[in-house]
């Protein structure tokens, strides 16, 4: 790896703020996929599956994640961070 780059961009989820969120479908897939395989992830997935369908809008998912976060769920907090930056 050549390390001689005078500028390096470090980008977080906030990079695309102001442009909408272009990859909502990927996030939805993440929420509903089995890849949330840790204890916290499973809890988020099960809770979301109980409350909303896969066709739900991203706004709806965020709202539900918000309510899960109120319950102190780490997985929900992390997903929200990714969505909102």
């Amino acid at each position: 790896m050549d390390c001689k780059y005078a500028n390096v961009l470090l980008a977080g989820a906030g990079f695309s703020h102001g442009f909408g969120f272009p990859l909502a479908s990927e996030l939805k897939d993440l929420v509903f996929s089995s890849r949330l395989d840790g204890k916290g992830g499973r809890r988020v997935k099960e809770a979301l599956e109980d409350r909303i369908s896969k066709d739900a809008s991203l706004d709806k998912i965020i709202t539900e994640l918000d309510s899960l976060m109120d319950l102190g769920d780490m997985g929900a907090r992390h997903l929200l961070r990714i969505i909102r930056g």
């Binding site: 390096v8 977080g12 695309s16 272009p22």
Partner: protein, 246 residues
């Protein structure tokens, strides 16, 4: 293609040469899309071994299109999937052990990432491999996920960078790995007497600046209270250390 995508890609192209190397903690493939539409599209690499002159793009927390198989896929489902995969990281020893694959070449875009075909391939992949994303609820370490080489590459990039342009990353408390990475790179530069400037582009940049100062040592922090959407090229360019503007 949604207008948001087009707007962001247009904006990114305008800043293209100012972002010769990219480190991201996001899981989505937004940057693959952006660089694939940029002027440097043919020179992109994604963080594995690369020769000089290529543009690194490092997903330090993995990517939603990356999958870890316990060994090289072949036969059965693996045989079917292989044409759709590219290898990000080979096994270390004797060609045995975990292999990190990427689903499709995101730059060739042979299959629409929004299509049913993409998601079907992905579901099939999950029967023989696991997703490679690092999340707090994930119990596996970065080395188990085969991401440690990306972190080593990121360390080299940061140690060589005069300007670290941070956009939309708040350096959260639970990103311990990132804190250590930044602190060590900045310290090494400081020991060598190299100046470093951290440009924080964020609507809350002034608040974030104190968080970065705690680990930045002697590095200069330049807060720019804007989103990338509102940032102008000249605002960024004028704040870069002069060495990179020559």
């Amino acid at each position: 293609m949604p207008h948001d995508f087009v707007d962001l890609a247009t904006k990114f192209r305008y800043f293209d040469d100012l972002f010769p190397a990219i480190i991201t903690l996001n899981w989505d493939s937004l940057f693959e899309f952006l660089v694939s539409t940029s002027h440097y599209a043919s020179e992109i690499v994604m963080g594995w071994e690369s020769s000089s002159g290529e543009r690194p793009l490092l997903h330090l927390h993995g990517c939603m299109s990356w999958f870890l198989a316990s060994e090289r896929l072949n036969g059965g489902v693996g045989q079917y999937l292989l044409p759709y995969l590219y290898t990000i990281r080979e096994p270390d020893r004797r060609k045995k052990g975990p292999v990190l694959y990427g689903l499709l070449d995101p730059f060739l875009r042979e299959i629409d990432l929004e299509s049913d075909e993409f998601w079907e391939l992905r579901s099939l992949l999950l029967t023989v491999a696991e997703s490679c994303i690092a999340i707090p609820s994930h119990r596996k370490s970065l080395s188990e996920l085969r991401l440690d080489h990306l972190w080593a590459s990121a360390a080299l990039l940061l140690e060589g960078a005069d300007n670290l342009i941070v956009i939309g990353y708040s350096l959260p408390d639970d990103d311990d790995h990132m804190r250590v990475l930044l602190r060590q790179a900045l310290r090494k530069r400081n020991v060598k007497g190299q100046r470093t400037r951290i440009l924080l582009v964020d609507p809350n940049a002034n608040l974030l600046a104190s968080r970065y100062r705690q680990l930045a040592g002697d590095a200069e922090i330049v807060p720019i209270e804007k989103t990338f959407a509102r940032l102008t090229r000249s605002e960024l360019e004028l704040n870069l250390l002069e060495s990179s503007r020559e």
